[in-house]
Amino acid sequence: MVQFVFRTEGLTKVYDSGEVQVRALDGVDLELYAGELAVLLGASGSGKSTLLNILGGLDHATSGRVWFRDLDLTDLGDRALTRYRRDHVGFVFQFYNLVPSLSARENVQLVTDVAADPMDAAEALEMVGLAHRLDHFPAEMSGGEQQRVAIARAIAKRPEVLLCDEPTGALDSKTGVAVLEVLNTINDTLGTSTIVITHNAGIQAMAHRVIRFADGRIGGVSENARRVAPHEISW
């Protein structure tokens, strides 16, 4: 039987600035499976980031419901959402959001210090190919390396889901591919359910499933019969 990690029902998010109402999500029904690598594809403003933020416990929906396994996230308060993020979710952002005053190892330790069953910080960095850069500060690393530190930081707590918002958006093709390799490896070896948001259509080839977004709605879902390895992708 297929296990769900996320399930949404009629998920709607309206941004109300007083004069203008923007429907970022407009009745999204979606199921995401345990262990899969899903790519959410769509243009800017199609609502994919909003969905990711709600799934990650950073935002609340205006209406509709959302579950993480059996946990109903819809009405959780700030404290419970903090707890949820701490225990279950790993985030990777387009702008790596590393703490500049902490070295690579220390940035990862930020998470391992508070997680219940973390891997060793050095081990996480080794998984992303940065075993030789443990004590370097963000300013001393390239963009690709910084993003890999961010991924190491996200996976170090052994999260059940890894949410990646345009992880290659700020990187050139070659560096971006290296980052995707890391994501793929983690999905394969750790079985972490991974959701990657991108507007880069090239990336969809590496996913188990591709979910297309347009105007706050799901435009279509397709499964890749054959997955392409990241090093075969370029843009």
């Binding site: 985030f91 959001n97 590393l98 703490v99 005053s101 940035n107 508070v114 500060f137």
Partner: protein, 785 residues
């Protein structure tokens, strides 16, 4: 309005809390400058006007009994413009409705017209015209609730006289009205009385003579020459040596106050301006960093470097304008409060309170210039940004490994703690100045707070250890020692001890000083000389014991010989050996053994003052009995003295402490709030990241609160040092011939100061913390730095 001007206004709107916090510090500097110079000007102008209109004299001389016939000779001295002779003396006052005696300084009122010099200013009623008339100083009348026509009795040179008040007046001679032996003005117990010269001369047996002379000098007169000529003429008649305004008690106190105001206006404001400049520099640099992309864009659009620099300087100027406005308002208010304070201590007929326009201009300009100086670095930074570079996101700040990292690793600190420490190490100058700013706040509280303990020490040493008598009985002239036996038989007297006061001039090399030489019997128990460590010491027979301050001024040490000219008795000059030095808080003490002086004078023992211990339940009987003792010129109750001293000090120090604490809180909020805001703006992303990673609000705020509070705590020891330094400087600057404020610093002073500053820092940071709680995580993460 141009788009850039609109941006300016909107930027200021956005920054207003930070702007006001800086403006408040600036306002403190402006306000103190205004108050200091304003009050300095007000007091100097008032003094100058009052002295001129009421013909305050330049020289004063007391004499035993000089005939009026000597006056033409004095008037013909080169440089003397006018003379005003009079008879004066002390009297014991028997006031209706109260048992305790008061003391009066009675001054003769010339026939016909008001005195040529030191003319009193009539406040109500008329001048004294008949024998029983008396005009009193307004403060005395007010303190005792007297109206014109009220009466009281006075024991004038042994004769009881009933007097009727005909008028009240003020005089430039007694702007600061302090009675004999008193430490503070006490208007209920000490009054200035004017009686007709004829009546007074008869009472003191001074017909055709005078015992006090005031002189005014011509513009080109040399004071020293006139003094010597006057002394030469009056010497045969028992002249006690002419002295200038610097030794006239009232003017000496007034001058000391005016000097202090000038010092305050000179020393304090620069500190505030420096802190404000630092804050402006810190905030403006941050704004330029945040506006980086906008600056690039503006340059790409064709704005020049100069236009952009001016844009940021104007933003700082708006802060300065707010600060100056606040400072002017606060300063005007503060100056009025102080004027009210002064009115309580100084008896001026009017206060020419006018802060000159140039003071407003100068304080405003000073504030503006320091603010501009603070903003200059940021403005130049904006000018130097190349447009192409500016539109790129800045590189992350560079952190490097240092030796401290090894220590931090060894300590196994939490990552959030490491973030705090690295930030301090990465921007050491900013951390240093923030800490110095907070330290300055602590120092400000200490520099006022130490006065409590210091004056407690003075009160303890003066009243509990040195002046242990309940009262001092003053005689019009020295009386034989046997009089003490009579005193001892009066009701309520438990113990009595003699004391002598000699007016002497000490000379050593080029130094010359007129002092009161006190002589006591060995092992005196009531009035004692106490060293700072609490020991009672007696002047060794065979020489003089001097206070350290006097010895330093005279360049004397133990074993040196000093020439002592006695201005009373046989008026002889003796060379005496300095046998001991002693540390004292009050007065320029010179002491001798009583037997030794009596032998030197070749006379039987005499007494100028009887120190007595009283039975408290029989005090009233004593007052009644004393009214009938002729040779009495006054009774000083030490407890009254102490009470007024303590009350004055309490009121004064409370106000001063309140002002300094308010200033310290202003500085703390200005520094801590801005430091935390800048940190928040630099760290918004980091802090949002931490929240997303699952750190709670408390943990995330911990980083923000932690850094500022860590700096606040680190700031305390340097703050204590600065505070102790300022306290030492103040205690030195307060020292005069009249008194010295000892430097007493207790742990509680430091603790109180630190607690206030830490609490104010905490509140400031908590205000910023609310912003962490309201932070929109998604928005923060989406925006590019």
């Amino acid at each position: 309005m141009q788009a850039l001007d609109k941006k300016l206004l909107r930027d200021f709107q956005r920054l207003w809390v930070q702007g006001v916090a800086i403006a408040a510090v600036l306002a403190c500097g402006v306000a103190i400058l205004l108050t200091g110079i304003g009050m300095f000007t007000a007091l100097s102008d008032t003094r100058a006007a009052y002295y001129e209109r009421n013909r305050f004299a330049d020289l004063f001389v007391d004499v035993r009994r000089a005939p009026d016939t000597i006056l033409p000779a004095i008037l013909s001295i080169d440089g003397v413009a006018a003379v005003a002779p009079r008879v004066q003396g002390l009297a014991v006052l028997d006031l209706p409705g109260r048992v305790e005696m008061a003391t009066g300084q009675i001054l003769g009122w010339p026939e016909g017209d008001e005195p040529a010099l030191n003319a009193p200013l009539l406040r109500s009623g008329t001048y004294p015209a008949r024998a029983g008339d008396v005009m009193v100083n307004a403060a005395f009348a007010e303190a005792n609730g007297y109206e014109i026509g009220d009466g009281f009795a006075a024991n004038i040179n042994g004769q009881r006289r009933e007097l009727t008040i005909t008028g009240t007046a003020l005089t430039p001679e007694f702007v600061y009205t302090i009675g004999p032996g008193a430490l503070m003005p006490d208007n209920a117990n000490f009054g200035i009385l004017w009686m007709t010269e004829a009546a007074l001369a008869a009472a003191f047996d001074m017909e055709g003579a005078f015992n006090h002379l005031a002189l005014s000098l011509a513009l080109d007169a040399v004071e020293q020459d006139v003094t010597e000529a006057v002394d030469l003429l009056l010497d045969p008649y028992g002249g006690l040596g002419a002295y200038g305004r610097d030794r006239q008690v009232s003017d000496a106190f007034l001058s000391a106050e005016i000097d202090q105001l000038a010092a305050m206006a000179r020393v304090t404001p620069p500190v505030f301006f420096a802190i404000a400049a630092f804050l402006v520099s810190m905030v403006m640099s941050r704004i330029v960093t945040l506006d980086r992309a906008e600056i690039g864009l503006l340059k790409a659009l064709g704005y020049s470097d100069v236009e952009i620099s001016i844009h940021y300087l104007l933003l700082a100027a708006m802060i300065a304008v707010v600060g100056v406005g606040m400072g002017w308002a606060l300063g005007t208010l503060l100056a009025r409060t102080m004027a009210w304070q002064y009115a309580r201590f100084f008896d001026f007929p009017y206060l020419l309170f006018r802060v000159p326009p140039w003071v407003y201009a100068v304080s405003g300009l000073a504030a503006l210039v320091t603010t501009m100086a603070g903003a200059l670095r940021a403005a130049l930074m904006a000018a130097r940004l190349a447009p192409a570079v500016a539109m790129q996101p800045p590189a992350p700040p560079l952190f490097r490994r240092t030796i401290l990292d090894v220590a931090m690793a060894a300590l196994r600190l939490r990552q959030t703690t490491i973030m705090i420490l690295r930030s301090l190490i990465r921007w050491p100058l900013r951390a240093l100045f923030t800490a110095l700013g907070l330290g300055a706040a602590t120092a400000s509280i200490i520099s006022a707070g130490f006065m409590w303990d210091s004056l407690d020490r003075v009160i303890d040493q003066t009243f509990d250890q040195s002046m242990r008598q309940d009262a001092m009985i003053l005689f019009t002239e020295d009386v034989p020692l046997s009089t003490l036996a009579t005193i001892a038989r009066l009701p309520g007297i438990l113990q009595v001890e003699p004391q002598q006061m000699h007016a002497v001039i000490l000379r050593h090399g080029l130094h010359e000083k007129r002092v009161a030489l006190e002589a006591r019997p060995r092992d005196a128990d009531l009035s004692r000389v106490i060293t700072p460590d609490g020991r009672a010491v007696d002047a060794p027979p065979g020489g003089l014991m001097l206070s350290h301050r006097l010895a330093r001024q005279m360049d004397l040490g133990p074993g040196d010989t000093v020439s002592v000219e006695f201005l009373s008795g046989r008026r002889e000059t003796h060379d005496l050996v300095v046998t001991a030095l002693v540390e004292l808080h009050l007065g320029l003490g010179a002491y001798a053994d009583m037997d030794f002086l009596d032998r030197l004078e070749r006379r039987d023992a005499r007494v100028s003052v009887a120190n007595v211990l009283l039975d408290p339940i029989r005090t009233d009987d004593l007052h009644l009995a004393l009214r009938d003792i002729p040779a009495l010129s006054g009774l000083i109750l030490i407890s009254d003295n102490r009470r007024s001293f303590e009350a004055t000090i309490d009121a004064n120090i409370s106000v001063v402490n309140g002002i300094y604490a308010a200033i310290a809180i202003c500085i703390t909020i200005g520094v801590a709030y801005n430091a935390a805001r800048i940190q928040l703006s630099e760290r918004a992303r980091e802090l949002a990241s931490l929240r997303i990673l699952g750190f709670s609000r408390g943990e995330v705020s911990g980083v923000l609160v932690g850094e500022t509070m860590l700096l606040a705590i680190l700031a305390q020891p340097p703050g204590w040092l600065m505070g102790a330094g300022i306290a030492r400087a103040l205690s030195n600057s307060f020292s005069s011939d009249l008194y010295a404020i000892p430097l007493v610093l207790t742990p509680s002073t430091f603790a109180t100061a630190s607690l206030i500053v830490l609490a104010a820092s905490f509140v400031s940071v908590m205000l910023v913390r609310r912003r962490v709680d309201r932070m929109d995580l998604v928005a923060v993460m989406k925006t590019r730095e």
